[in-house]
Protein backbone atom coordinates (compact mmCIF):
# COMPACT_ATOMS: atom_id res chain seq x y z
CA UNK A 1 0.00 0.00 0.00
CA UNK A 2 1.22 3.46 -0.79
CA UNK A 3 0.43 5.63 2.21
CA UNK A 4 0.44 8.76 0.06
CA UNK A 5 -2.91 7.97 -1.46
CA UNK A 6 -4.58 5.64 0.99
CA UNK A 7 -7.75 6.86 2.63
CA UNK A 8 -8.62 5.00 5.79
CA UNK A 9 -10.91 6.98 8.09
CA UNK A 10 -9.02 7.48 11.34
CA UNK A 11 -11.60 8.55 13.83
CA UNK A 12 -9.47 10.14 16.52
CA UNK A 13 -6.65 11.74 14.56
CA UNK A 14 -8.82 12.99 11.75
CA UNK A 15 -9.35 16.77 11.60
CA UNK A 16 -12.96 16.00 10.65
CA UNK A 17 -13.60 15.29 14.32
CA UNK A 18 -11.86 18.44 15.59
CA UNK A 19 -14.42 21.05 14.48
CA UNK A 20 -18.02 21.74 15.60
CA UNK A 21 -20.53 19.64 13.69
CA UNK A 22 -22.31 22.71 12.32
CA UNK A 23 -19.09 23.98 10.74
CA UNK A 24 -18.68 20.93 8.53
CA UNK A 25 -18.93 21.87 4.86
CA UNK A 26 -18.46 18.86 2.62
CA UNK A 27 -18.88 20.97 -0.53
CA UNK A 28 -15.41 22.51 -0.24
CA UNK A 29 -13.66 21.62 -3.55
CA UNK A 30 -10.30 21.41 -1.78
CA UNK A 31 -11.50 18.34 0.17
CA UNK A 32 -11.82 16.51 -3.13
CA UNK A 33 -8.51 17.69 -4.56
CA UNK A 34 -6.75 16.46 -1.42
CA UNK A 35 -8.99 13.38 -1.04
CA UNK A 36 -9.68 14.29 2.59
CA UNK A 37 -13.49 14.33 2.58
CA UNK A 38 -13.83 10.76 3.90
CA UNK A 39 -13.53 11.55 7.61
CA UNK A 40 -16.13 14.33 7.39
CA UNK A 41 -18.63 12.01 5.75
CA UNK A 42 -17.88 9.25 8.24
CA UNK A 43 -18.60 11.66 11.08
CA UNK A 44 -21.82 12.92 9.47
CA UNK A 45 -23.07 9.38 8.93
CA UNK A 46 -22.49 8.64 12.60
CA UNK A 47 -23.49 11.88 14.27
CA UNK A 48 -25.78 13.82 11.93
CA UNK A 49 -26.74 11.82 8.83
CA UNK A 50 -29.00 14.54 7.40
CA UNK A 51 -26.89 17.63 8.02
CA UNK A 52 -27.55 21.30 7.44
CA UNK A 53 -24.71 23.47 6.21
CA UNK A 54 -25.71 27.12 6.54
CA UNK A 55 -22.85 28.71 4.66
CA UNK A 56 -20.85 27.42 1.72
CA UNK A 57 -19.50 28.42 -1.66
CA UNK A 58 -22.83 27.17 -3.03
CA UNK A 59 -25.13 28.66 -0.39
CA UNK A 60 -27.01 26.73 2.31
CA UNK A 61 -27.73 23.06 1.66
CA UNK A 62 -28.71 19.79 3.30
CA UNK A 63 -26.32 16.85 3.10
CA UNK A 64 -27.87 13.39 2.88
CA UNK A 65 -25.10 10.96 3.77
CA UNK A 66 -26.62 7.54 4.47
CA UNK A 67 -27.59 4.97 1.84
CA UNK A 68 -31.18 4.52 3.05
CA UNK A 69 -31.89 8.26 3.23
CA UNK A 70 -30.44 8.77 -0.24
CA UNK A 71 -32.72 5.98 -1.48
CA UNK A 72 -35.67 7.77 0.14
CA UNK A 73 -34.89 10.96 -1.81
CA UNK A 74 -34.27 9.06 -5.05
CA UNK A 75 -37.61 7.28 -4.91
CA UNK A 76 -39.72 10.39 -4.20
CA UNK A 77 -39.18 12.57 -7.27
CA UNK A 78 -42.45 14.40 -6.57
CA UNK A 79 -41.06 15.79 -3.30
CA UNK A 80 -37.45 16.11 -4.43
CA UNK A 81 -37.38 17.83 -7.80
CA UNK A 82 -34.66 17.76 -10.46
CA UNK A 83 -36.17 20.62 -12.46
CA UNK A 84 -33.57 23.09 -13.70
CA UNK A 85 -35.96 25.95 -12.93
CA UNK A 86 -35.76 25.03 -9.25
CA UNK A 87 -31.98 24.68 -9.33
CA UNK A 88 -31.25 21.47 -11.22
CA UNK A 89 -29.20 18.46 -10.19
CA UNK A 90 -25.88 19.79 -8.90
CA UNK A 91 -24.96 21.74 -5.79
CA UNK A 92 -24.14 24.64 -8.08
CA UNK A 93 -27.53 26.10 -9.03
CA UNK A 94 -28.30 25.74 -12.71
CA UNK A 95 -27.82 28.94 -14.62
CA UNK A 96 -31.29 30.00 -15.67
CA UNK A 97 -29.95 32.41 -18.29
CA UNK A 98 -28.33 29.73 -20.39
CA UNK A 99 -30.77 26.94 -19.88
CA UNK A 100 -30.96 23.99 -22.23
CA UNK A 101 -33.65 21.34 -21.83
CA UNK A 102 -32.05 18.09 -20.64
CA UNK A 103 -34.09 15.23 -19.25
CA UNK A 104 -31.80 14.81 -16.25
CA UNK A 105 -33.04 18.26 -15.18
CA UNK A 106 -36.73 17.61 -15.76
CA UNK A 107 -39.50 16.11 -13.65
CA UNK A 108 -42.20 13.75 -14.99
CA UNK A 109 -44.05 13.72 -17.28
CA UNK A 110 -41.71 15.73 -19.55
CA UNK A 111 -38.68 13.78 -18.28
CA UNK A 112 -40.21 10.44 -19.27
CA UNK A 113 -40.86 11.35 -22.90
CA UNK A 114 -37.36 12.68 -23.46
CA UNK A 115 -35.66 9.81 -21.70
CA UNK A 116 -37.62 7.14 -23.54
CA UNK A 117 -36.50 8.55 -26.85
CA UNK A 118 -32.77 8.16 -26.22
CA UNK A 119 -32.88 5.08 -24.00
CA UNK A 120 -32.91 2.48 -26.85
CA UNK A 121 -29.38 3.43 -27.96
CA UNK A 122 -28.02 1.91 -24.77
CA UNK A 123 -30.42 -1.04 -24.62
CA UNK A 124 -28.87 -4.54 -24.48
CA UNK A 125 -29.49 -5.32 -28.17
CA UNK A 126 -27.67 -2.20 -29.30
CA UNK A 127 -24.82 -2.71 -26.85
CA UNK A 128 -24.26 -6.21 -28.19
CA UNK A 129 -23.92 -4.72 -31.67
CA UNK A 130 -21.39 -2.15 -30.45
CA UNK A 131 -19.23 -4.55 -28.46
CA UNK A 132 -16.96 -5.70 -31.30
CA UNK A 133 -16.07 -2.20 -32.48
CA UNK A 134 -15.40 -0.98 -28.92
CA UNK A 135 -13.19 -4.01 -28.32
CA UNK A 136 -11.21 -3.43 -31.50
CA UNK A 137 -10.67 0.26 -30.73
CA UNK A 138 -9.75 -0.46 -27.11
CA UNK A 139 -7.20 -3.04 -28.24
CA UNK A 140 -5.66 -0.59 -30.72
CA UNK A 141 -5.35 2.10 -28.03
CA UNK A 142 -3.64 -0.34 -25.64
CA UNK A 143 -1.27 -1.59 -28.33
CA UNK A 144 -0.11 1.99 -28.84
CA UNK A 145 0.96 2.51 -25.21
CA UNK A 146 4.68 3.07 -24.46
CA UNK A 147 5.43 -0.08 -22.47
CA UNK A 148 8.33 0.35 -20.04
CA UNK A 149 8.01 4.14 -19.94
CA UNK A 150 6.16 6.42 -17.54
CA UNK A 151 3.02 7.98 -19.04
CA UNK A 152 -0.25 9.66 -18.02
CA UNK A 153 -3.00 6.98 -17.95
CA UNK A 154 -5.73 9.65 -17.84
CA UNK A 155 -4.76 11.11 -21.23
CA UNK A 156 -3.50 8.08 -23.05
CA UNK A 157 -6.15 5.60 -21.96
CA UNK A 158 -9.14 7.07 -20.10
CA UNK A 159 -9.73 10.22 -22.17
CA UNK A 160 -8.67 8.53 -25.39
CA UNK A 161 -11.11 5.64 -24.97
CA UNK A 162 -14.09 7.67 -23.75
CA UNK A 163 -13.64 10.10 -26.63
CA UNK A 164 -13.56 7.20 -29.09
CA UNK A 165 -16.68 5.80 -27.46
CA UNK A 166 -18.57 9.04 -27.89
CA UNK A 167 -17.51 9.24 -31.52
CA UNK A 168 -18.74 5.67 -32.00
CA UNK A 169 -22.07 6.39 -30.31
CA UNK A 170 -22.71 9.45 -32.43
CA UNK A 171 -21.04 7.99 -35.53
CA UNK A 172 -19.10 11.24 -35.38
CA UNK A 173 -16.41 12.10 -37.97
CA UNK A 174 -13.38 10.31 -36.56
CA UNK A 175 -10.77 12.99 -37.29
CA UNK A 176 -12.86 15.59 -35.41
CA UNK A 177 -13.59 13.43 -32.36
CA UNK A 178 -11.58 15.52 -29.89
CA UNK A 179 -14.26 18.20 -30.35
CA UNK A 180 -16.64 15.96 -28.41
CA UNK A 181 -14.40 15.97 -25.35
CA UNK A 182 -13.88 19.70 -25.71
CA UNK A 183 -17.62 20.37 -25.83
CA UNK A 184 -18.17 18.11 -22.84
CA UNK A 185 -15.47 19.76 -20.76
CA UNK A 186 -16.73 23.23 -21.75
CA UNK A 187 -20.25 22.32 -20.62
CA UNK A 188 -19.17 21.56 -17.05
CA UNK A 189 -16.18 23.93 -16.69
CA UNK A 190 -16.37 26.74 -14.15
CA UNK A 191 -15.88 30.13 -15.92
CA UNK A 192 -12.42 31.60 -15.48
CA UNK A 193 -10.73 28.26 -14.72
CA UNK A 194 -9.00 27.87 -18.05
CA UNK A 195 -11.38 26.36 -20.56
CA UNK A 196 -14.16 28.96 -20.64
CA UNK A 197 -13.82 32.67 -19.77
CA UNK A 198 -17.49 33.48 -19.21
CA UNK A 199 -21.02 32.21 -19.75
CA UNK A 200 -21.05 34.07 -23.08
CA UNK A 201 -17.91 32.22 -24.11
CA UNK A 202 -19.53 28.94 -23.06
CA UNK A 203 -22.60 29.72 -25.17
CA UNK A 204 -20.38 30.47 -28.13
CA UNK A 205 -18.75 27.03 -27.80
CA UNK A 206 -22.18 25.40 -27.39
CA UNK A 207 -23.26 27.19 -30.55
CA UNK A 208 -20.39 25.57 -32.47
CA UNK A 209 -21.45 22.19 -31.10
CA UNK A 210 -25.07 22.85 -32.13
CA UNK A 211 -24.07 23.83 -35.65
CA UNK A 212 -21.90 20.75 -36.11
CA UNK A 213 -24.49 18.35 -34.70
CA UNK A 214 -27.29 19.95 -36.72
CA UNK A 215 -25.32 19.30 -39.88
CA UNK A 216 -25.05 15.60 -38.93
CA UNK A 217 -28.77 15.55 -38.12
CA UNK A 218 -29.65 17.03 -41.51
CA UNK A 219 -27.56 14.41 -43.30
CA UNK A 220 -29.11 11.55 -41.33
CA UNK A 221 -32.73 12.61 -41.20
CA UNK A 222 -32.89 12.12 -44.96
CA UNK A 223 -30.92 8.85 -44.97
CA UNK A 224 -31.95 5.31 -43.95
CA UNK A 225 -32.23 4.87 -40.14
CA UNK A 226 -29.03 3.62 -38.53
CA UNK A 227 -28.06 2.68 -34.98
CA UNK A 228 -26.14 5.82 -34.05
CA UNK A 229 -27.65 8.25 -31.62
CA UNK A 230 -28.24 11.11 -34.01
CA UNK A 231 -29.92 8.90 -36.58
CA UNK A 232 -32.07 7.36 -33.85
CA UNK A 233 -33.21 10.75 -32.63
CA UNK A 234 -33.81 11.96 -36.18
CA UNK A 235 -36.05 8.99 -36.98
CA UNK A 236 -37.89 8.45 -33.66
CA UNK A 237 -41.41 9.89 -33.57
CA UNK A 238 -40.82 11.22 -30.04
CA UNK A 239 -37.71 13.21 -30.93
CA UNK A 240 -38.02 13.94 -34.65
CA UNK A 241 -39.69 17.29 -33.95
CA UNK A 242 -37.47 18.47 -31.12
CA UNK A 243 -36.71 22.16 -30.97
CA UNK A 244 -33.07 23.10 -31.67
CA UNK A 245 -32.63 23.75 -27.93
CA UNK A 246 -34.01 20.33 -27.01
CA UNK A 247 -31.73 18.69 -29.55
CA UNK A 248 -28.64 20.48 -28.23
CA UNK A 249 -29.70 19.76 -24.63
CA UNK A 250 -30.00 16.04 -25.30
CA UNK A 251 -26.75 15.91 -27.26
CA UNK A 252 -24.81 17.68 -24.50
CA UNK A 253 -26.35 15.54 -21.78
CA UNK A 254 -25.27 12.39 -23.60
CA UNK A 255 -21.79 13.74 -24.28
CA UNK A 256 -21.24 14.86 -20.69
CA UNK A 257 -22.87 11.77 -19.21
CA UNK A 258 -20.57 9.45 -21.09
CA UNK A 259 -17.38 11.43 -20.74
CA UNK A 260 -16.09 12.40 -17.28
CA UNK A 261 -17.75 9.54 -15.49
CA UNK A 262 -16.43 6.55 -17.40
CA UNK A 263 -13.09 8.35 -17.71
CA UNK A 264 -12.77 8.48 -13.91
CA UNK A 265 -13.69 4.83 -13.45
CA UNK A 266 -11.13 3.80 -16.07
CA UNK A 267 -8.46 5.56 -14.04
CA UNK A 268 -9.88 4.62 -10.63
CA UNK A 269 -9.73 0.91 -11.40
CA UNK A 270 -5.97 1.01 -11.94
CA UNK A 271 -5.52 3.01 -8.75
CA UNK A 272 -7.74 0.70 -6.69
CA UNK A 273 -5.84 -2.39 -7.83
CA UNK A 274 -2.53 -0.72 -7.05
CA UNK A 275 -3.71 0.22 -3.57
CA UNK A 276 -4.95 -3.33 -3.04
CA UNK A 277 -2.26 -5.63 -4.45
CA UNK A 278 -3.96 -8.74 -3.04
CA UNK A 279 -7.02 -7.91 -5.18
CA UNK A 280 -4.78 -7.36 -8.22
CA UNK A 281 -3.30 -10.83 -7.64
CA UNK A 282 -6.76 -12.35 -7.21
CA UNK A 283 -7.86 -10.80 -10.50
CA UNK A 284 -4.83 -12.09 -12.40
CA UNK A 285 -5.36 -15.56 -10.97
CA UNK A 286 -8.98 -15.54 -12.11
CA UNK A 287 -9.71 -13.04 -14.91
CA UNK A 288 -13.40 -14.06 -14.86
CA UNK A 289 -13.65 -11.82 -11.78
CA UNK A 290 -13.69 -8.84 -14.17
CA UNK A 291 -17.48 -9.26 -14.22
CA UNK A 292 -17.91 -8.47 -10.52
CA UNK A 293 -14.91 -6.14 -10.37
CA UNK A 294 -16.47 -3.63 -12.79
CA UNK A 295 -19.43 -2.64 -10.57
CA UNK A 296 -17.04 -2.64 -7.60
CA UNK A 297 -14.79 -0.15 -9.42
CA UNK A 298 -17.82 2.03 -10.14
CA UNK A 299 -18.83 1.94 -6.46
CA UNK A 300 -15.30 2.49 -5.18
CA UNK A 301 -14.69 5.38 -7.57
CA UNK A 302 -18.16 7.00 -7.39
CA UNK A 303 -17.45 9.20 -10.44
CA UNK A 304 -20.07 11.76 -9.42
CA UNK A 305 -19.83 12.62 -5.73
CA UNK A 306 -23.41 13.81 -5.55
CA UNK A 307 -26.69 14.63 -7.21
CA UNK A 308 -28.86 17.43 -5.94
CA UNK A 309 -32.62 17.86 -5.60
CA UNK A 310 -34.85 20.72 -4.45
CA UNK A 311 -37.76 20.15 -2.05
CA UNK A 312 -41.13 20.99 -3.61
CA UNK A 313 -42.91 20.98 -0.23
CA UNK A 314 -42.13 20.92 3.49
CA UNK A 315 -41.11 17.39 4.42
CA UNK A 316 -39.20 15.32 6.97
CA UNK A 317 -36.07 13.37 6.13
CA UNK A 318 -34.11 11.37 8.69
CA UNK A 319 -35.91 13.30 11.45
CA UNK A 320 -34.98 16.72 10.02
CA UNK A 321 -37.50 19.29 8.82
CA UNK A 322 -36.77 20.13 5.21
CA UNK A 323 -38.50 23.29 3.96
CA UNK A 324 -39.98 23.82 0.54
CA UNK A 325 -37.25 25.22 -1.73
CA UNK A 326 -34.34 23.77 0.30
CA UNK A 327 -31.37 22.38 -1.57
CA UNK A 328 -30.93 18.68 -0.79
CA UNK A 329 -27.62 17.06 -1.77
CA UNK A 330 -27.40 13.27 -1.94
CA UNK A 331 -23.76 12.39 -1.34
CA UNK A 332 -23.31 9.16 -3.28
CA UNK A 333 -19.65 9.20 -2.25
CA UNK A 334 -20.80 8.84 1.35
CA UNK A 335 -23.71 6.42 0.82
CA UNK A 336 -21.33 4.11 -1.03
CA UNK A 337 -19.22 3.89 2.15
CA UNK A 338 -22.17 3.41 4.51
CA UNK A 339 -21.38 0.39 6.71
CA UNK A 340 -25.09 -0.12 7.41
CA UNK A 341 -25.78 -0.83 3.73
CA UNK A 342 -22.51 -2.24 2.41
CA UNK A 343 -20.26 -4.73 4.14
CA UNK A 344 -16.66 -3.52 4.63
CA UNK A 345 -17.46 -0.45 2.53
CA UNK A 346 -13.98 1.06 2.71
CA UNK A 347 -12.42 -2.04 1.21
CA UNK A 348 -12.09 -2.64 -2.51
CA UNK A 349 -13.25 -6.24 -2.97
CA UNK A 350 -13.46 -7.49 -6.55
CA UNK A 351 -15.58 -10.54 -5.75
CA UNK A 352 -18.21 -8.96 -3.54
CA UNK A 353 -21.63 -10.49 -3.22
CA UNK A 354 -24.20 -8.14 -4.85
CA UNK A 355 -21.59 -5.72 -6.26
CA UNK A 356 -24.18 -3.73 -8.17
CA UNK A 357 -25.93 -2.57 -5.04
CA UNK A 358 -24.27 0.84 -5.00
CA UNK A 359 -25.38 4.41 -5.54
CA UNK A 360 -22.99 5.55 -8.27
CA UNK A 361 -25.65 5.37 -11.00
CA UNK A 362 -28.35 6.83 -8.78
CA UNK A 363 -31.68 5.08 -8.31
CA UNK A 364 -35.27 5.79 -9.25
CA UNK A 365 -36.46 7.46 -12.44
CA UNK A 366 -33.22 9.39 -12.99
CA UNK A 367 -30.96 6.34 -12.69
CA UNK A 368 -28.12 6.57 -15.22
CA UNK A 369 -29.46 5.59 -18.61
CA UNK A 370 -25.99 4.58 -19.83
CA UNK A 371 -25.05 2.37 -16.89
CA UNK A 372 -24.73 -0.86 -18.87
CA UNK A 373 -22.77 0.89 -21.63
CA UNK A 374 -20.36 2.27 -19.02
CA UNK A 375 -19.93 -1.16 -17.46
CA UNK A 376 -19.34 -2.70 -20.88
CA UNK A 377 -16.64 -0.16 -21.78
CA UNK A 378 -14.78 -0.71 -18.52
CA UNK A 379 -15.20 -4.49 -18.77
CA UNK A 380 -13.75 -4.54 -22.28
CA UNK A 381 -10.86 -2.34 -21.12
CA UNK A 382 -9.94 -4.79 -18.36
CA UNK A 383 -10.42 -7.88 -20.53
CA UNK A 384 -8.07 -6.42 -23.12
CA UNK A 385 -5.58 -5.20 -20.48
CA UNK A 386 -5.35 -8.65 -18.91
CA UNK A 387 -4.80 -10.30 -22.29
CA UNK A 388 -1.75 -8.10 -22.81
CA UNK A 389 -0.45 -7.67 -19.25
CA UNK A 390 -1.65 -10.62 -17.18
CA UNK A 391 0.73 -10.32 -14.21
CA UNK A 392 -0.20 -8.78 -10.84
CA UNK A 393 1.16 -5.26 -10.48
CA UNK A 394 2.21 -5.08 -14.11
CA UNK A 395 0.54 -1.67 -14.47
CA UNK A 396 2.19 0.40 -11.74
CA UNK A 397 0.91 3.72 -10.47
CA UNK A 398 3.85 6.09 -9.97
CA UNK A 399 3.33 8.52 -7.09
CA UNK A 400 -0.03 10.03 -6.20
CA UNK A 401 -2.60 10.98 -8.85
CA UNK A 402 -3.67 14.58 -9.27
CA UNK A 403 -7.37 14.83 -8.39
CA UNK A 404 -10.09 17.15 -9.67
CA UNK A 405 -10.98 19.96 -7.24
CA UNK A 406 -14.76 19.57 -7.42
CA UNK A 407 -17.53 18.41 -5.14
CA UNK A 408 -19.32 17.04 -8.23
CA UNK A 409 -16.89 15.39 -10.66
CA UNK A 410 -14.86 12.92 -8.64
CA UNK A 411 -12.00 12.26 -10.97
CA UNK A 412 -8.36 12.65 -11.86
CA UNK A 413 -6.49 15.35 -13.73
CA UNK A 414 -3.58 12.97 -14.24
CA UNK A 415 -2.13 9.69 -13.02
CA UNK A 416 1.34 8.56 -13.98
CA UNK A 417 1.84 4.85 -14.56
CA UNK A 418 4.41 2.49 -16.02
CA UNK A 419 3.62 -0.84 -17.62
CA UNK A 420 6.38 -3.35 -17.06
CA UNK A 421 7.13 -5.61 -19.98
Amino acid sequence: MNAAYTHVPQEQKNPAYAIPLEDIDVSDPELYRSNTMWGYFERLRREDPVHYCAKSLFGPFWSVTKYKDIMEVETHPGIYSSDSRRGGVTILDSNTAVQLPMFIQMDPPQHDEHRKAVSPIVAPENLARMEAIIRRRTGEALDGLPVGQEFNWVDKVSINLTTQMLATLFDFPWEDRSKLTYWSDATVALPGEGLVDSEEHRMQIMGECAAYMTRLWNERVNAEPRSDLISMMAHDARTRNMTPEEFLGNVLLLIVGGNDTTRSSMTGGVLALNENPEQYAKLCANPALVASMIPEIVRWQTPLSHMRRTATEDTVLGGKNIRKGDKVVMWYVSGNRDEEAIENPNNFIIDRARPRQHLSFGFGIHRCVGNRLAEMQIRILWEEVLKRWPKPGQIKVIGAPERVASPFIKGYESMQVRIDA
Binding site: M71, E74, T75, D112, S119, P124, L127, Q357, I365, R372
Partner: protein, 106 residues
Protein backbone atom coordinates in the same frame (compact mmCIF):
# COMPACT_ATOMS: atom_id res chain seq x y z
CA UNK B 1 -41.90 -24.47 -2.08
CA UNK B 2 -43.22 -22.54 -5.07
CA UNK B 3 -42.41 -23.63 -8.61
CA UNK B 4 -41.41 -20.86 -11.01
CA UNK B 5 -40.68 -21.29 -14.73
CA UNK B 6 -38.52 -18.77 -16.57
CA UNK B 7 -38.44 -18.65 -20.37
CA UNK B 8 -35.39 -16.79 -21.65
CA UNK B 9 -35.40 -14.51 -24.68
CA UNK B 10 -33.77 -17.31 -26.71
CA UNK B 11 -36.41 -19.85 -25.69
CA UNK B 12 -34.45 -21.69 -22.99
CA UNK B 13 -36.87 -22.91 -20.31
CA UNK B 14 -35.80 -23.37 -16.69
CA UNK B 15 -37.91 -24.25 -13.68
CA UNK B 16 -36.82 -23.51 -10.15
CA UNK B 17 -38.33 -24.02 -6.71
CA UNK B 18 -38.16 -21.29 -4.10
CA UNK B 19 -39.52 -20.67 -0.62
CA UNK B 20 -42.84 -18.97 0.03
CA UNK B 21 -42.30 -15.20 0.35
CA UNK B 22 -39.38 -15.04 -2.09
CA UNK B 23 -39.75 -12.36 -4.77
CA UNK B 24 -39.69 -13.25 -8.43
CA UNK B 25 -36.50 -11.17 -8.78
CA UNK B 26 -34.82 -13.12 -5.96
CA UNK B 27 -35.97 -16.38 -7.51
CA UNK B 28 -34.24 -15.40 -10.76
CA UNK B 29 -31.06 -13.90 -9.31
CA UNK B 30 -30.69 -16.68 -6.73
CA UNK B 31 -30.85 -19.30 -9.47
CA UNK B 32 -28.60 -17.43 -11.92
CA UNK B 33 -31.34 -16.89 -14.49
CA UNK B 34 -29.76 -14.67 -17.16
CA UNK B 35 -31.30 -11.31 -18.02
CA UNK B 36 -32.42 -10.33 -14.50
CA UNK B 37 -30.10 -8.15 -12.42
CA UNK B 38 -31.92 -6.63 -9.44
CA UNK B 39 -29.34 -3.89 -8.86
CA UNK B 40 -31.20 -2.10 -6.07
CA UNK B 41 -31.71 -5.28 -4.08
CA UNK B 42 -35.47 -5.30 -4.40
CA UNK B 43 -36.75 -1.93 -3.26
CA UNK B 44 -38.37 -0.90 -6.52
CA UNK B 45 -35.78 1.70 -7.44
CA UNK B 46 -33.92 0.57 -10.57
CA UNK B 47 -36.09 -1.49 -12.95
CA UNK B 48 -33.33 -4.02 -13.63
CA UNK B 49 -35.64 -6.94 -12.84
CA UNK B 50 -38.12 -6.20 -15.62
CA UNK B 51 -39.79 -9.37 -16.90
CA UNK B 52 -42.93 -10.45 -18.69
CA UNK B 53 -45.59 -12.47 -16.87
CA UNK B 54 -47.50 -14.96 -19.00
CA UNK B 55 -51.08 -13.74 -19.55
CA UNK B 56 -52.85 -16.48 -17.55
CA UNK B 57 -51.02 -15.41 -14.36
CA UNK B 58 -51.53 -11.66 -14.61
CA UNK B 59 -54.89 -11.59 -12.82
CA UNK B 60 -53.46 -13.41 -9.82
CA UNK B 61 -50.89 -10.68 -9.09
CA UNK B 62 -51.19 -7.73 -6.76
CA UNK B 63 -51.46 -4.71 -9.12
CA UNK B 64 -48.40 -2.50 -9.60
CA UNK B 65 -48.08 0.53 -7.31
CA UNK B 66 -47.16 4.01 -8.52
CA UNK B 67 -43.36 3.69 -8.23
CA UNK B 68 -43.35 0.42 -10.15
CA UNK B 69 -45.56 1.97 -12.81
CA UNK B 70 -43.31 4.99 -13.24
CA UNK B 71 -40.20 2.81 -13.52
CA UNK B 72 -41.89 0.49 -16.02
CA UNK B 73 -42.84 3.58 -17.97
CA UNK B 74 -39.10 4.05 -18.65
CA UNK B 75 -38.14 0.40 -19.21
CA UNK B 76 -37.37 -1.16 -22.57
CA UNK B 77 -39.87 -3.10 -24.73
CA UNK B 78 -42.67 -2.80 -22.18
CA UNK B 79 -45.67 -5.00 -22.93
CA UNK B 80 -48.95 -6.04 -21.28
CA UNK B 81 -47.20 -8.62 -19.08
CA UNK B 82 -44.43 -6.27 -17.94
CA UNK B 83 -43.72 -6.22 -14.20
CA UNK B 84 -40.77 -5.68 -11.90
CA UNK B 85 -39.87 -9.04 -10.42
CA UNK B 86 -38.94 -7.55 -7.04
CA UNK B 87 -42.54 -6.43 -6.54
CA UNK B 88 -44.02 -9.90 -6.98
CA UNK B 89 -43.91 -11.93 -3.77
CA UNK B 90 -44.41 -15.62 -4.42
CA UNK B 91 -47.05 -17.56 -2.53
CA UNK B 92 -49.07 -20.78 -2.97
CA UNK B 93 -51.53 -19.01 -5.27
CA UNK B 94 -48.65 -18.34 -7.69
CA UNK B 95 -47.28 -21.91 -7.63
CA UNK B 96 -46.38 -22.72 -11.24
CA UNK B 97 -46.11 -19.10 -12.45
CA UNK B 98 -44.40 -18.59 -15.81
CA UNK B 99 -42.35 -15.47 -16.68
CA UNK B 100 -40.36 -14.52 -19.76
CA UNK B 101 -37.01 -12.75 -19.27
CA UNK B 102 -35.44 -10.20 -21.63
CA UNK B 103 -31.96 -10.31 -23.19
CA UNK B 104 -30.74 -7.90 -20.53
CA UNK B 105 -31.56 -4.89 -18.40
CA UNK B 106 -30.37 -1.32 -18.42
Amino acid sequence: MIKVTFIEHNGTVRSVEVADGTSLMEAAVGNLIPGIDGDCGGCCACATCHLFIEPEWLDKLVPAEDMEKSLLELAECVGPGSRLGCQIKLSQSLDGIVARTPLGQH
